[in-house]
Symmetry: C2
Subunit: 592 residues, 2 copies
């Protein structure tokens, strides 16, 4: 089967035309991110992803990973070499501070590149993704000494990082953490077990830097008593050389539905004297430190949804262009199935959900760049905070649908593992679960992101969407058509938000009951907003004349399809959201 | 994990209260199907399914099946024994003609029992399901001599049956079949390869009866040149004893996403002199013969969707009642997750989609009984024909959603294979594909079942649904509430049908473009109709007093939830259906 072809044209389009890369490149520190530089970076990343990382995707799935008797996890053939090429290419340093060896590029550009790694091989791509999260947590919270010791080696790709949150009794509920930390001079001794630790053990690098949440003996109960520690696999000497093996390691690997090549470890810390760890940030403030890392990781997982959707789409298109079966309407002879309307409907659904998701995710990363380097930080931060659960929640739910359609387009062959469609379907299934389930994202959206500010950030977003529609309504007939139903959709989102704000006070179950529908509604509407912006830009570029006219034509049709076939979902999400909590909570537990 | 618990109460309720088992038991030949007999049969089947077949489900998934060097497929431990218990219990003969050793019970009762086999173990259950289809095809089409020779042994469970349609170039497109048959005295010689042959080889019985579609040398091209043959694995002597091994067998097994314990075979016929086959029905009329079998098989696959949805629901409920995580709204301490509104929303969605699907599928089987034994055959036949693609299409699409939610309720544990939720998700994935993909069902619904009769059968269904609503509107306040939005939904289905009838003439792509949305709309609305009927019956029984009040209470809440959270989907299906074909077909092929 064909390898992954990075959607470089669409990425450049989204970055330059929708996200406003010119404004981002004007931010202090981002001067090098010119359109040419952006295009060149995307082009280079597309080679590594398509030629080196993508071919390992099926091998990894078939080989899987195992923990050997020495407690090591040998990675599938080719994984280590691909990782070295990634590190040597400087791909791990793209968006990080030049002070610690980074290239200081915008987050949104790194996001585009990240999408490529994830699309080419989600199991492999998780390792850099987790490392990136670890770097962010250390950069934002650790002492200068720790930063100097760890960040350059993580940024260079020499070492990788992990996030150790979950324990058997503490999944979504971090308040239930039990892992212990005791003070011992300038360091701490960590004891406890963590589960679901992605890339917790492997052979691609010499060292692994674990970020571990644990409790001090005198810590308050609940989430206010959690501290964050760095626990390196090998201790690091003053001169930077590696010292002794720390008292920690993987004790078993999970047998999973998908992402078979990504070792999901049960990690044990301190089976003997206790693993040596170093505090990151202040004692008992670990949760806040972890959230710096988790929020960006959530955007990253949303992007994984876009990535795997695109990969599934490419595979389905190839099959549909090749497979001949039955005459299409109006034809007397058998045709390739891409000519059959229902197959076309599936492919267009896959395509436009992917395009809308990409545009929305990149937009959130663009806001992050403004938040980090721009002047109006608070406004952009509020927008990133609002969009994060939408991107994570909606794009990963959409990934289930798109990879499912990818199987469906293949018919019977889709159920056969050799085709590859089933692997994407299996791999994608984790995305609505890790880094906070869809339910947790929805809860975040209705709680911290809507009720907490009384809808202020959402109101700002609604206003911006209405502005876009108003501009479109003054444009061509075609744009008026595309924007027509979006107006009702944006209004429905506003009404649902007001219903939530009004009803949540008197009904304690309301927020939780409508959360998922509200999140899916917001995602569907925001996706439509992005597609309208894309249509506007495409029309303008088309008349300008120096842009690929085929690309513009396709984008306009994508937007029309989205409004016809995808956007109408807002009707059911909105209708279901405003039915209250009674029928959801009505059934007594013993009647289930 | 807990074994499958057959929903005997709900099955009895649906049979007696919704399907009208009293009327079916009044049909000639069905006199024995009294409420007590029905309940006793369900009770017995629930034991075999829960105690014997269900425990083999995970073993089968983990062991899988392999073709050995002798061309045999040993089944997983316990499979053969369970099959023998099934055969000895007479379960394979329930609905068949007493003339050939059957028990002459109604189809709808057999359907309820069939649901249990499929829910307890879909891989295992496929073997009886295919055998049932083979019996139906032989019974309806073969000569008396062939019937006498084969049916009693299939009905008794002594032998099993298979359906051999698909070839590599001929999946949905049977016109492209190439398998050959040559006349030779009183029999034929069959040569060719078939793929995706479920239970094509195994060790559970002494003989396997293959039904094979093939072409005679002088046959017309296309579907009018296909004939149906019986090709037994072992030839059958005059006295009924087994003779020589026929020139056919499995040459490889597929490596699949799910149903690992069901051998999906590549079958080769006639590698040497040609496999000996016997004509079923007339030459070149094989497709019609196959359709007798395929239509019932399609209802059976729809029922598999209901079955696996119920199994996933049961597993998720058990987990949600056990897993403690975070305080629910209004609570200060951590609670079982079933108390969290979003988990409750997922469980109720699973529950009500399953209940609605069961009621709809059983209703179709009830119509089949009236068609077979009743007076107003034509009307019931039209209804079965109309409901078949809806039951197959909608219930299997719903099964994807429900098994996906089953994984989601489990959080991170859902992605771990040991939990069992992932197996249901993988197993369910085949259901929208085999026996005609969802696209094929949708095509059948818009084409043969709507355009062909100019909407007559659909109009009759719409009228019946409106009648139900009218009665409910004259009932209690609660019933008025439950039926409120269903009226708009039924009207939307009617409008969509008229849009199709009007637009299909001038736009050759319209029918194919809206087919899937039309099918999902019809399923959602029919599901609502069944839930309203269930609510009516539950309310009446509740006031009657001799029915379990808890069951009635739960059913009313289920109906309310369905109307609040599931039915609103009709809005988006209907809105998407009436946007024509332009944006679906607009993108040129080279722009994909």
């Amino acid at each position: 089967m064909a390898e992954y072809r990075a959607p470089v044209n669409d990425m450049n389009f989204v970055l330059q035309q929708l996200v406003g890369m010119d404004q981002i490149a004007a931010l202090p520190g981002y001067e090098e991110a010119s359109p040419d530089m952006v295009a060149a970076i995307l082009e280079e990343a597309s080679k590594l992803s398509g030629e080196v990382i993508s071919p390992l995707n099926i091998i990894g799935d078939q080989t899987g990973v195992k923990l050997n008797e020495q407690g090591q996890v040998p990675t599938p053939v080719g994984f280590k070499d691909a990782y070295q090429q990634y590190a040597e290419g400087g791909w791990g340093s793209l968006q990080f501070d030049p002070e610690h060896g980074g290239q200081g590029m915008p987050q949104v550009l790194a996001a585009a590149v990240l999408e490529m790694w994830q699309a080419s091989n989600i199991s492999w791509g998780l390792c850099p993704l987790l490392t990136q999260g670890a770097i962010e947590a250390i950069e934002a919270n650790a002492s200068e000494a720790i930063k100097a010791q760890y960040i350059p080696r993580l940024v260079s790709g020499e070492w990788t990082g992990t996030m150790n949150l979950t324990e058997p009794q503490a999944g979504s509920d971090l308040a239930a953490l039990r892992c212990k930390a005791e003070r011992e001079g300038d360091h701490y001794r960590i004891k406890g077990q963590k589960i679901f630790i992605t890339w917790g053990e492997h052979d691609m690098t010499d060292n692994i830097v674990h970020l571990v949440l644990a409790r001090l003996p005198d810590a308050p109960a609940g989430v206010r008593g959690i501290s964050l520690f760095i626990v390196p696999k090998y201790l690091v000497n003053e001169d930077g050389s590696l010292g002794e093996l720390n008292d920690c390691g993987a004790v078993s690997l999970e047998h999973k539905l998908g992402i078979h090549a990504s070792p999901t470890c049960v990690m044990s810390f301190g089976d003997n004297d206790g693993a040596i760890g170093y505090l990151v940030g202040e004692e008992n403030k670990g949760l806040a430190c972890m959230f710096t890392m988790m929020n960006n990781a959530r955007l990253g997982v949303g992007l994984q949804g876009v990535a795997i959707a695109d990969r599934a789409y490419q595979l389905a298109v190839d099959y549909a262009k090749d497979r001949v079966q039955s005459p299409a309407p109006g034809s007397k002879e058998s045709n390739t199935i891409i000519r059959h309307p229902d197959v076309r409907r599936m492919l267009m659904t896959m395509r436009t959900l992917t395009e809308a998701g990409r545009a929305l995710a990149f937009t959130a990363y663009g806001n992050l760049d403004h938040q980090l380097k721009g002047e109006d930080k608070a406004r952009h931060q509020a927008r990133v905070s609002l969009l994060t659960p939408i991107v994570k929640g909606w794009c990963t739910e959409v990934a289930q649908e798109v990879t499912g359609l990818g199987v469906q387009v293949h018919g019977g062959m889709g159920f056969i593992e050799e085709t590859g469609a089933a692997q994407h379907y299996r791999d994608a299934r984790i995305l609505t679960i890790y880094e906070g389930t869809s339910g947790i994202q929805a809860q975040d959206l209705v709680g911290r992101k809507t009720l907490f500010d009384q809808g202020e950030a959402m109101d700002a977003l609604l206003a911006e969407m209405l502005d876009t529609i108003e501009t479109a309504q003054q444009g061509s007939e075609r744009l008026r058509g595309i924007s027509g139903s979006l107006l009702s959709a944006v209004e429905a989102l506003g009404q649902t938000q007001r219903y939530l704000l009004k009803g949540a006070e008197s009904d304690i179950n309301l927020a939780g009951s409508l959360a998922f529908n509200y999140m899916m509604l917001a995602g569907t509407v925001c996706g439509g907003w992005q597609m309208l912006k894309a249509a506007q830009a495409a029309e303008q570029l088309q008349s300008g004349g120096d842009y690929d006219p085929k690309f513009c034509k396709a984008k306009l049709i994508s937007a029309e399809f989205y409004m016809d076939q995808v956007l109408p979902r807002y009707l059911s999400y909105a209708a279901a959201a405003v039915t209250g909590s009674e029928s959801i909570m009505g059934l007594e537990e013993d009647l289930f």
